[in-house]
Amino acid sequence: MKANVIAAVVFWAALTLVGEAFALSDLFPAVGSDQAKDFDHIFRFLLFLGIPVFTVAVSVIIFSLLQFRARGPEEDGPAMRGTGLPPRIWLAVTGCLAVGVMIYPGLTGLSKLQSTGSGFGWGDTDAEIVIKATGQRWFWSFEYVGQDVTVIGNGREVVLPVDASIKFEVNSIDVIHSLWVPAFRMKIDAIPGRTTFMTVKTIELGTFADQQSFRIQCAELCGLDHSAMESPVRVVTRAEYDDWLASQKSK
C-alpha cells in the first residue's frame, strides 16, 4: 500500500510537470487591450491550478490500470469502504480549492470588470471615445459619437486609437447579436430594447491584415449569415486616428 502510494504520487508529480510545461506554451491570440492582458494572466493561472487536479484523476487511473490489473473476477479486492478521514480530507481540499478560485480570480476579477451594479456591461461607464455599435442581420454599424463618422457594413475597417479607453454602446435592431473582439478578449450581447456596453483600453497597435484576432465579430447565432458578420479592426496612433476621422468626415 505504502509503496503504491509513493509510486503513484511520483507518477502524478511527473505528469503534472509535463502538464504545467504545456501550460507555458503560447496559447493566446494577439494582445490588444488591458483586458486581454488580464485574461491571459487569469487563464494561465487557472490552467496552472487545473492541471494538477486533472492529473490526479489521470495518474490514479493509469497507475491502477498498470498496477491493479486482474485477468478476471477471480479475486476480490480489499473491502475499503472509504469512511472516516479520507473523504473528509478530500472534501476539505476540494472545498478550499473551489472557494479559493471563487474569490481569486473569480470575484476579484469580476469586481475589476464591473463598475456598476445595475448596469449591463463591462468596464467604466464613461470613456474618452464612445462608439455606438448596432447589430443588424448581418452586419454591424459603428457610430463615433460626437464625430459625425459612421462605419457601416461587413469588411469596413473600424479604426481605434492606441492607449485610449473606448466604450462600445451596443444595441440591436432585430435579433440578439454579440460584439466580440478576440484581440481585446471582450464580448457583450446586443439586445433589442436594451443598451449594453463594454469599455476597453487599447494598449497595442495592430491590424486585421497582420493579426486576424483584430476583428469585431458576431458571437451569438443570428441566422443565415451569422458567420459573415464581422468587421476588421485597426488600432493606430493618435495622429493616424485623427487623420482617419478627418478623412471619413470629408466623405
Binding site: G106, L113, G119, G121
Partner: protein, 634 residues
C-alpha cells in the same frame, strides 16, 4: 403480423389525426371568415391531433384508451422481435426500444457532425451554403441533446432500475409505454424541418430570432415540447418507482448507486423540464397567436427567454451526466471487485448536485447583457457545484485504487468517463469564472468543453452500459475483442478531436459558423480529420451489436459475477423479472466482505455469493436455478 399492424396503425391513425386537425381548424377558420390554411397554425393543430392518433394507433387505444369509455382493454401479445414494435408495457422492452431508437438518432446526429466537419476542413465554403450549414448544425444539436437526455435515462434507466431494485416493472407501465411512443413522432418531425427551410436557431432557439425565422421553427417547437412531455412523465415514473417499488429490505442505504443517480435525475427532469417547454411555448405563442413575450418594441424582453430556457437547460446537463456517473460508478465497483468507496458521500454528492442545479443557470448568460449584480451570485453557486462533483471523483478513484481491475469493454468505458469528465470539469472552471468566460463564451472552447462533459462523460457511459447490459438484454455475449477495438478507437478519436478543439476557441473562433478565419485552417483540418476517425469507430460498434445479437454465443446469467440483483436472474430475464421475489439483506457492493449477502430468493436458495471469494475459499454453494453461471470461473 402484430408489428406491422401496430406500426401501420400508428402511421395511419397519425395521418388521419393530422388531416383532421388541419381540416377541423380550417373549418373553424373558414366559418370565422379567415383563410382556411395558415401554415403555422395548421401545422400546430395537425401535429397535435397527429400525435394523438399516432400513440392511439400504436396500441394505446387498446391497452389504455378503451378503459376511459368503460370498454375492456387488451394487450397485443406479440412474440419474439415483434414485441419491440407494439405498445408494450414491459420496462425491459421499453428500455431496448429507447436504446435502439436513440442509437439510430445518435448515428444520424453523428452524420450531421461529419457533414459539419467536412464544411469546416478549410475556411471559405466547401460543401454547403450558410443556410444548409445552419440547418445541419441545428439538427445535430437538437438530435444529440435528445440522445443525451433520453438514451441513458430512457434506455438503461428503464431497463435496469426495476431489475436493480428487485421490482417487477415500473410503477406506471402504460405511462412508460406512452413516453416511448411519443418519441418517434418527435424524431420524424425534427427530420422534416429541412422541408420548411431548416432550423436556423441552433438547439437553443433564442428569440427574437426564433420568432422571426422561417416556418421550420414551428416543427422544432411542437416536437421539443412533446419531447419535454416525455421527459417529465418519465421523471415522474422513476420517482414513484424508486420510492414505492423497492424489494423488501432494499433500504435507501442499500440502493445501488445508479438507482440513486436515476432518483436525482428523475427529480430534475420532473421539476425543471417545464422551463424548456415553457420557453418554446412562449415562442410558439409569439409566432402563432401574435403575442409579444420577446418583442422589445411591444413591451417584451428577449432575455426573459434565456432565463426560462437555462432554468431548465442547465439542470438538463445533470439529467444527462448524473446517470452517466451512476452507471460508471456501478461498473467501476463491479469490475474493481471492491466496495464503492465513500458510498454515502457519493449519494450526498448526487443529492447536492440536485439541490444546486436549480440555482446556477445564469452562468450561461454572463455575456448576455443581464444586470451586473447577477454575475457574482451565479459565479459563486457555479463554483460550489464543483465540490459535490469532486466527491464523485473521490468515489471512482478510491474504488479502483487497490482493486482487482478486470478490464472488460464496459470497464474501459467507465474509466474513460472519469478521465474525460476530469478534463471537462477543469475546462468548466474557465467558463464558470466570469473574467475568463467573457472571452470564451460562445467560442469553440465551449464546444470542446461540453463535448467533453456530455459526450466524454455521458455518451461514453451510455456505450459502456450498452456493453455491460448486452448479455442481460439479448441473452447473448458481444464480441469482446471488437468491443475493445471500438473503445480505443472511439477514445483516441474523441480526445484528439475535442482536446485540439479548445485551441481555436481561445484563438477567437466563434461557434455555430459555416466559415472561419484562415489562420485557423490547420487546427480545423486536424479536428475534422480526427472527427472523421471518431465517426468511423461507430461502424465497429454497430457491426458488433448486430452480429452478436444474431450470432453471439449464449450469455450466462451473471457473466460479470456482479452482486447486484439485475445479474441474479436469467439472461434475458423473464417477464416478471424474478421468478421468486428477492429479499434484500446486505449492501450491493460488499466485495471482499466474507459471508456478505446482497439478496436472498426465498425458496430458491441463496443467490449470493454466487462463487467463492478468494478470501473465503470454498465456502459458498453454487447458485441454484439454471443459467450458465453455475460455479463461477474460479
Amino acid at each position: 403480423m402484430y408489428a406491422l399492424k401496430s406500426v401501420a396503425g400508428a402511421l395511419g391513425a397519425g395521418l388521419i389525426g393530422f388531416y383532421l386537425g388541419i381540416g377541423g381548424l380550417g373549418a373553424v377558420r373558414a366559418l370565422a371568415g379567415y383563410d382556411a390554411w395558415d401554415t403555422e397554425m395548421s401545422i400546430t393543430f395537425g401535429y397535435v391531433f397527429g400525435v394523438i392518433g399516432w400513440v392511439m394507433g400504436a396500441g394505446m387505444w387498446g391497452a389504455w384508451g378503451r378503459e376511459w369509455f368503460g370498454l375492456r382493454t387488451y394487450d397485443r401479445k406479440a412474440p419474439g422481435w415483434q414485441r419491440y414494435f407494439v405498445f408494450n408495457t414491459d420496462h425491459k422492452v421499453i428500455g431496448i426500444q429507447y436504446l435502439v431508437t436513440f442509437i439510430v438518432v445518435f448515428l444520424l446526429g453523428g452524420l450531421m457532425a461529419m457533414l459539419m466537419r467536412a464544411e469546416l476542413t478549410h475556411s471559405g465554403h466547401q460543401l454547403f451554403s450558410n443556410a444548409q450549414y445552419n440547418s445541419i448544425m441545428g439538427l445535430h444539436g437538437i438530435m444529440m441533446i435528445a440522445v443525451a437526455v433520453a438514451a441513458l435515462v430512457g434506455g438503461i434507466g428503464n431497463y435496469a432500475v426495476p431489475l436493480l431494485i428487485g421490482a417487477e416493472d415500473m410503477a406506471f407501465p402504460r405511462l412508460n409505454a406512452l413516453t416511448y411512443w411519443l418519441i418517434p413522432p418527435v424524431a420524424l418531425t425534427l427530420l422534416c424541418t429541412p422541408l420548411l427551410g431548416g432550423i436556423e436557431t441552433g438547439w437553443t432557439a433564442y428569440p427574437p430570432l426564433s420568432v422571426l425565422t422561417n416556418n421550420a421553427q414551428i416543427l422544432f417547437d411542437v416536437a421539443i415540447i412533446t419531447f419535454g412531455l416525455t421527459s417529465i412523465l418519465g421523471g415522474l415514473n422513476f420517482v414513484v418507482t424508486i420510492i414505492f417499488m423497492r424489494a423488501p429490505g432494499m433500504t435507501w442505504g442499500k440502493l445501488p448507486i445508479f438507482v440513486w443517480a436515476m432518483f436525482a435525475t428523475a427529480w430534475i427532469a420532473l421539476l425543471y423540464t417545464q422551463g424548456f417547454a415553457v420557453s418554446l411555448l412562449m415562442v410558439l405563442l409569439d409566432r402563432v397567436a401574435g403575442m409579444s413575450w420577446f418583442d422589445a418594441a411591444n413591451g417584451g424582453d428577449p432575455l426573459l427567454d434565456q432565463h426560462v430556457f437555462w432554468f431548465y437547460s442547465h439542470p438538463a446537463v445533470y439529467v444527462m451526466v448524473l446517470p452517466g456517473f451512476g452507471i460508471a460508478l456501478e461498473m467501476i465497483s463491479h469490475f474493481s471487485r471492491k466496495p464503492l468507496f465513500a458510498y454515502r458521500y457519493a449519494v450526498g454528492a448526487l443529492l447536492g448536485i440536485l439541490g444546486l442545479s436549480g440555482v446556477v443557470w445564469a452562468h450561461h448568460m454572463f455575456t448576455s447583457g443581464m444586470p451586473n449584480y447577477l454575475h457574482g451570485p451565479f459565479l459563486v453557486a457555479t463554483e460550489l457545484i464543483s465540490i459535490p462533483t469532486g466527491l464523485i471523483f473521490l468515489c471512482a478513484l478510491g474504488t479502483i485504487w487497490m482493486g482487482r481491475l478486470w478490464l472488460t469493454t464496459p470497464m474501459l468505458f467507465a474509466l474513460a468517463v472519469i478521465f474525460n469528465f476530469a478534463c471537462g470539469g477543469v475546462t468548466g472552471i474557465f467558463l464558470a469564472d466570469v473574467p475568463t468566460d467573457i472571452h470564451l463564451q460562445d467560442s469553440y472552447f465551449v464546444v470542446a468543453h461540453f463535448h467533453y462533459t456530455i459526450m466524454g462523460g455521458e455518451i461514453f457511459a451510455l456505450f459502456g452500459a450498452i456493453y455491460y447490459y448486452f448479455p442481460k438484454m439479448t441473452g447473448r455475449q458481444y464480441n469482446e475483442r471488437l468491443g475493445k477495438i471500438h473503445f480505443w478507437w472511439m477514445f483516441i478519436g474523441f480526445n484528439v478531436t475535442f482536446f485540439i478543439m479548445h485551441w481555436p476557441g481561445i484563438q477567437g473562433m466563434n461557434r455555430r459558423i459555416a466559415d472561419f478565419m484562415s489562420d485557423l485552417n490547420t487546427a480545423n483540418l486536424i479536428v475534422s480529420l480526427a472527427g472523421f476517425f471518431l465517426g468511423a469507430s461507430f461502424l465497429v460498434f454497430v457491426f458488433n451489436m448486430v452480429w452478436s445479437w444474431i450470432f453471439g454465443p449464449a450469455a450466462e446469467r451473471n457473466p460479470w459475477r456482479a452482486r447486484t440483483l439485475d445479474w441474479q436472474t436469467d439472461s434475458p430475464p423473464p417477464l416478471e423479472n424474478f421468478p421468486v421475489p428477492p429479499v434484500v439483506r446486505g449492501h450491493p457492493y460488499d466485495y471482499g466482505v466474507p459471508g456478505s449477502v446482497h439478496a436472498l430468493f426465498p425458496g430458491r436458495g441463496a443467490e449470493e455469493p454466487p462463487r467463492p471469494p478468494s478470501t473465503f475459499p470454498g465456502a459458498a454453494p453454487a447458485p441454484a436455478g439454471g443459467g450458465g453461471g453455475g460455479g463461477g470461473g474460479g
